[in-house]
Symmetry: C2
Subunit: 248 residues, 2 copies
C-alpha cells in the first residue's frame, strides 16, 4: 500500500466547524502527527497511532510525517484552523524541499480548514468584509523591523488587519510595540477586536477603540482584528456588530 501525507485543518476549536473532507481523511489515517492539543482533538481508535509533539518542533514533526509516509503509512498532519495560514503546511514543504529526493514522489495534499481570523470575524460581524491583510506578529522567524514595516504599509493601504500570535510569554513586549505603531500609523480611534478562544464554549469578544487597546488584552489564544478606516459598529440589544462595508 502506498503511503501519503495529508496536512489537514481542524478549524478553530468547535468540532462542528471541521469539514467532512477532513473527518473522512482522519478515518483513513494510520498515523496522526501534530502539536499535543491538536492531536488530542482526534479520537483514538484501533489502527491509529497518535504522535503528539511540542510546539516549535515543526520541522522535526514534518520530517517524521514524510518518513512514515515513505514507509507506506497514511499520515495526517493536523493543524488548528487552516494548515496553510501560519501553520503546518509550509513547514512540511520546507522539510520536503530539504529532504531526500524520494519524498517528492509521495502523495501530499493540503485540506483547508476554517482559519481563526474567519471564525473571529464571523463571531463579531464582518470586519474582514473588504480588503484586508493577515500578519503573524511573532518575531520568532522574522525580524521585528519587517513586522513594523508591514504594519505601517498596511495602515497606509487602509487594509483591515488580522493578527495571529499577537503575544506570548516569551515575547511580551512585541504586541505593545505593535499597538504603538498602529496608533501612530492609523491616527484614529478605529475599532480593534480581541477574540479569545474563538468558536469554543469559553469564547470572549471585546471591541475597543484602538486608542484604548492595551497589550494585556491579547495572549496566544487571542485573534486580533483591527478595522480599516471604514470599519463601523452597529449597536444592538444583543451587543455590538463590527463590520466593514463592501465599498471600503
Amino acid at each position: 500500500m502506498s503511503g501519503w501525507v495529508v496536512i489537514a485543518g481542524l478549524g478553530p476549536g468547535n468540532e462542528d466547524m471541521v469539514t467532512p473532507e477532513v473527518r473522512a481523511t482522519l478515518d483513513q489515517a494510520t498515523d496522526v502527527v501534530g502539536y499535543f492539543p491538536y492531536v488530542a482533538r482526534v479520537a483514538p481508535r484501533d489502527g491509529l497511532t497518535l504522535h503528539g509533539s511540542d510546539n516549535r518542533v515543526e520541522l522535526d514533526r514534518s520530517r517524521h510525517a514524510l518518513s512514515m509516509a515513505a514507509e507506506g503509512r497514511r499520515v495526517v498532519v493536523v493543524s488548528s484552523g487552516d494548515p496553510g495560514v501560519f501553520a503546518m503546511a509550509s513547514a512540511v514543504f520546507e522539510a520536503l524541499e530539504a529532504g531526500p529526493e524520494a519524498w517528492r514522489a509521495l502523495e501530499i495534499r493540503v485540506l483547508p480548514g476554517i482559519t481563526a481570523m474567519l471564525a473571529a470575524a464571523a463571531a463579531a460581524g464582518a470586519p474582514l468584509g473588504h480588503d484586508f491583510c493577515t500578519i503573524n506578529l511573532s518575531d520568532n522567524l522574522k525580524p521585528w523591523a519587517l513586522i513594523e514595516k508591514r504594519l505601517r504599509l498596511a495602515a497606509e493601504a487602509d487594509f483591515a488587519m488580522a493578527f495571529y500570535n499577537p503575544r506570548s510569554r516569551s515575547r511580551p513586549e512585541g504586541f505593545e510595540r505593535a499597538l504603538k505603531v498602529l496608533r501612530e500609523a492609523c491616527g484614529d480611534a478605529r475599532p480593534i477586536l480581541f477574540a479569545r478562544n474563538v468558536s469554543r464554549v469559553d469564547q470572549t469578544l471585546r471591541i475597543v477603540p484602538l486608542t484604548e487597546a492595551t497589550p494585556e488584552m491579547a495572549d496566544m489564544r487571542t485573534m486580533v482584528i483591527v478595522g480599516s478606516s471604514a470599519t463601523r459598529i452597529i449597536e444592538t440589544p444583543r451587543g455590538p456588530i463590527l463590520f466593514t462595508p463592501r465599498s471600503a
Copy 2:
C-alpha cells in the same frame, strides 16, 4: 416563534467542505436567500422556500432576509466561500444599519466557510503560508486608484497577495492594469497562481512567472494568488508545489 437570520458560507463548491454547523442550520431554515447558483446548492425539502436572486442585488436580498426574519421566519443567507470575505455578511449589516430600528433586535449570526483563497492555496501547496493580503479587484464599489494604491503598497510590504474577482466581462481591462502594476512593483519573476473552479471536479491550477501572466488566464471563476519574494516552487513528479516559507 422568533425569527433569525444566519449568513452562512457554503465553501468553494465541494460539498465535503461545507461545515456540519452550516448543514445543521440549513436543516432548521424556513427560507434560503442568495445568488441563484448558491441557492441551487441547497436541497429542496418541504417547509423550505428557496429564494434565488441575481447578483448585484445584495442589498435588496439582505432587506428581504431581514424583513422575513422580522416576521418570524428562520432565514439562511447563503454565500459561496466564507460570507465575511467579499460576500453577503457585510451587505446584510449595511442593510441592517440603514433599516428599521426593530431589525436590530433580531438574532443575526454569521457562520464561517472555507473561502476560495484558502482552498486555492491548499490545492497548490501553501502560498499563503506567511503574511499576505486579500484584495477584491472589482472596481464596482471602489475607485480603481485605490486598488492600484493597495497593490503597490502590498508589493512594498512584500505580502503574498490573494485576489478575488480578478476579471469580468464588464471589466475586462482591470486585471490587465493590475498585472502591469504588479510587474512594475514586484520587479521579478515570482510565481502567480491561477486557480479556476477551485475544489470542483473541473478544477484547474496554473502557475506561471509573473512576467508571463496574461489577463485571459483569469475570469470570475478564477482565484489569483501572487507570491511574496520568498514564495518558491518544489518540482515533483506529481506537479509543482507552490509555497511560502514560515520565515518570509
